[in-house]
Symmetry: none
Amino acid sequence: MPNIADIIEEYIKARLSRSNGGIVVMRRSELAEKFQCVPSQISYVLNTRFSFNRGYIIETRRGGGGFIRVIRVSLDESEDILDIIYEKIGDEISLGECINLIKYLYDEELITKREAHLMENVLEVTTPNNGVQGSGRQRAAIFKAMLMVLLRHDK
Amino acid sequence: MPNIADIIEEYIKARLSRSNGGIVVMRRSELAEKFQCVPSQISYVLNTRFSFNRGYIIETRRGGGGFIRVIRVSLDESEDILDIIYEKIGDEISLGECINLIKYLYDEELITKREAHLMENVLEVTTPNNGVQGSGRQRAAIFKAMLMVLLRHDK
DNA sequence: TGAAGAAGGTCAAAGTAGGTCTAAAGGTCA
DNA sequence: TGACCTTTAGACCTACTTTGACCTTCTTCA
């Protein structure tokens, strides 16, 4: 029994890839209707699966004629990927956020699946995932070091 | 008279060999129901019979739509890597030895150049290369965690 | 202009499902 | 038989999902 959240996620992703420009506009209540769930379920999916760290931007408008716009952020070659990534990582970072970023890099085809697993394993082994003092800082340092290598060397 | 643990083990192995790709996805509570035991019994079987050391990788998810995925690693295809994990690394290992092994893996085309760089860098960043207490053990753990990824055949 | 209605936002509680730990029971073997 | 290892059961923990009540923002129209 796959859960509704996953189904809605797939649906939005399918629409995104069908769209040109990676933009989908929808009405929250309509989607909820379509999937027979409460509207806040849509918000939940958006928050957990289409976060900024996973490479999406959400724009919304309330009131009559309201909408939700999901925008897939693709990096173009000219942008300094490192800067963007570094900004997202900051001085400390949680394991969950790392995994989101890794997913994003994989979706963007900047890293392979194996490299993604490799990084995840390293982060899991090297840093405790619960709020142990300093673990967030250590994780950020290791993650940055790994990204540095990946982004400096071609596949 | 075989015990429940053995029966569950056989069941999972049967499903694995019936599957293509050596992957089985299941629900812990359902299996427990099927075999009339407590759910933690399933965890016990997984921990004792399907550990990484025995050639399996377990992935799980909690909450609604949760599951347990058992992935069988192809042991024969991974002889070199297993040999490194069990024979060469041991409980501790020096940075120099790691680098030699990584070089070997690259020469054998078991890893890409980028993966080699990644591994080396991680080991350099995470563990001091001079005889600091315990660093050899930590290095061994990290190296093994990274090599585990190479055993997966789900790409 | 301001009240009504139409969206989306937020948050907490309840529900679902796997993880961990430990005590007790069951086997094995010298 | 006693020491030791394995298995079983259950209490409690943590993570993820679903639902619903209530809040805020925006548009429309009298």
